[in-house]
């Protein structure tokens, strides 16, 4: 079931075409990453999904509600974390959370319990009555996440939840996101952090210059972006002795000598590598290792961005 849907979104801001034909869907309980470089259109997409910006064309739906016809209903269902923590720094942590809780219509008794629970989860119990401005960046981000959760929404839109955080805080936030997803929340994350996207997301939509250039699970993206397979072969004898075999089997430009005893070979089909192994062994090469090299998500991402 598609729970969050963007269909052919296009948006121009000033002279710049920020989004062009952006289409993707997020299933209920899924966690999907919108991955792209700065200025790719990630934040604009999020803002359109929140009803903060109106697209020039296209439509957006959240839990079956049209974002621009049932805006308030959509906003009640979504917890939104903007790029900056956006806290009222002169107010205390508690006041920040209570204000949004009231605004989202959480009943007073329930609100108190919920804030206490959130402070506990976020490790902010001792800071409840500190002005938000006195907190570190990591703690501010935790308060901002608590704010997005104060009305217990089934959907979360998180815009760069770990950007500029120290490794400890970033890891805390990632673990929290995983936990929230396990509890059934549907999550859309904007990020340019590949490790984060790979760790957290079941699917990734790569966006560049306002267009979705690829969408799928990290492994699917790897498979789709790869041109055949890459193997590393290691021999006990100098690999240069078998250059002729390599040339005849895979072709001159499809292998590369790495060092005296190893080479990297690219083949279009898996059958080709078994053929190469047979030929090398027949030629007297004592192979000690044949290893398939997976392209990293970074390779895939860079390739997709460059190609687009």
């Amino acid at each position: 079931m598609v729970y969050l849907e963007a269909v052919k979104l296009a948006k121009k801001i000033g002279d710049k075409q920020v989004l062009e034909n952006v289409t993707f869907g997020v299933g209920k309980g899924e966690i999907i990453g919108l991955l792209g470089p700065n200025g790719a259109g990630k934040t604009t997409t999020m803002r359109i999904l929140m009803g903060l910006l109106r697209p020039d064309s296209g439509s957006a739906k959240v839990a079956g509600f049209d974002v621009f016809e049932d805006t308030l209903e959509v906003r009640r269902l979504v917890g939104y974390l903007p790029e900056n923590p956006c806290l009222y720094e002169r107010l205390t942590v508690w006041d920040n959370l209570a204000f949004y809780g009231e605004l989202y219509g959480v009943q007073k008794d329930e609100l108190e319990t919920r804030i206490n629970r959130l402070l506990d989860t976020m490790g902010l119990k001792g800071r409840a009555f500190s002005p938000a401005g006195n907190l570190s960046k990591g703690l501010k981000q935790r308060v901002a996440i608590a704010r997005a959760l104060v009305h217990d929404p089934p959907i979360l839109l998180l815009d760069q939840p770990t950007s500029d955080l120290d490794p400890v805080s970033a890891s805390f936030v990632r673990e929290l996101i995983k936990k929230l997803n396990r509890s059934g929340k549907t999550i859309l994350i904007c990020t340019h952090n590949l490790i984060e996207a790979e760790q957290l997301c079941s699917r990734i939509a790569v966006i560049n210059e306002g267009r979705i250039v690829a969408i799928g699970s990290p492994s699917k993206l790897r498979k789709e972006s790869g041109e055949g397979y890459t193997f590393e072969i290691k021999s006990l004898k100098p690999i240069k002795k078998y250059l002729n075999v390599l040339r005849e089997t895979v072709g001159e430009s499809y292998f590369e000598i790495e060092d005296e005893l190893s080479a990297v070979v690219r083949v279009g089909r898996l059958e080709s590598i078994s053929h190469l192994i047979r030929n090398l062994v027949s030629a007297g090469c004592e192979l000690v290792e044949v290893r398939m090299l997976m392209p990293s998500l970074e390779d895939v991402y860079l390739k997709l961005v460059r190609e687009s």
């Binding site: 929140m50 903060l52 910006l53 009640r76 956006c86 107010l91 605004l103 219509g105």
Partner: protein, 269 residues
């Protein structure tokens, strides 16, 4: 429109504003200064007695009596305080209130943008009108409270200080009351609307608050014209001015509301 949502926003804004010592000082100090300056001006002839009138050019007192015909039967000791109370004090109140309201309005509107707190607020399940009303309430409540409270204090102190010269409670005269209590809120509201329009364009609170500065000029013109005897602010003229300002208020308010939308506030530079 759900008034309750607007009240929640106004309450938050008020708490936010008054948690800053700088903001409190910027709001309250002008009023304290204004009360002190008014008192000082009014008390001058009381302290100096008839010596004071030696410093006023001959013929000036007659000119005042022409401008304010109700002063014809007044003694020398009553004349100057009455003139200050009627011609100067209302303008002081208008100028200081305008300055104070523009600070608080700019903090409420442009401040959210400057401090980057506007986005989650716009993403909350509230309508534009609820947010707008909340912000207007947060700006107008402290401004009017300060205006009326300082005017009340001023009335009390002026009557106390001038008790010797007047044997009745003379302050405020009707014209002063109308200027402060009727024209004052209308003019302040106009300034607030201009600051709201400015907030959609300005990057900072300071920049946005300057938009109300344009309203000082008409006040100065009327003030100077009045002292020069070119304009006499009679009761009917004050009421007519109130009507005209109300009409301008309505038009500018509509314009301000139209500039108040999430797209402008998020995307504008």
């Amino acid at each position: 429109m759900r008034i309750g949502k607007a009240v929640i926003i106004a309450r938050k804004d008020l708490r936010d504003t008054f948690s800053s010592k700088f903001m409190v000082a910027s709001l309250v100090l002008p009023y304290v200064m204004m009360v002190l300056v008014s008192l000082l001006l009014i008390a001058l002839p009381i302290f100096f007695g008839s010596e004071f009138y030696k410093y006023i050019a001959p013929g000036e007192l007659e000119k005042i009596k022409d401008t304010l015909p109700e002063t014809r039967g007044m003694s020398e000791m009553q004349l100057f305080p009455y003139m200050i109370g009627t011609l100067v004090l209302p303008f002081l109140f208008l100028v200081f209130s305008l300055a104070s309201s523009s600070i608080i309005t700019a903090d409420s509107f442009a401040g959210e943008r400057e401090r980057k707190t506007i986005e989650p607020l716009l993403a909350a399940p509230i309508t534009n009108s609820e947010l707008f009303l909340g912000k207007i309430l947060a700006s107008i409540i402290p401004t009017l409270t300060l205006l009326y409270a300082s005017f009340g204090v001023c009335c009390l102190l002026i009557n106390l200080v001038t008790a010797k010269a007047f044997d009745y409670l003379w302050f405020p005269p009707l014209k002063t009351s109308l200027m402060v209590c009727v024209i004052g809120p209308l003019y302040i509201f106009l300034g607030m609307c201009l600051v709201i329009i400015g907030s959609s364009r300005a990057r900072t609170v300071k920049e946005a608050s300057n938009y109300a500065g344009i309203l000082i000029l008409p006040l100065l013109i009327v003030f100077i014209a009045q002292l020069g005897g070119l304009v006499i602010m009679e009761t009917m003229k004050i009421l007519l001015s109130a009507l005209i300002i109300s009409i301008i208020d309505f038009s500018i308010f509509r314009l301000a509301y139209s500039t108040f939308n999430s797209e402008t506030m998020i995307v504008a530079p």
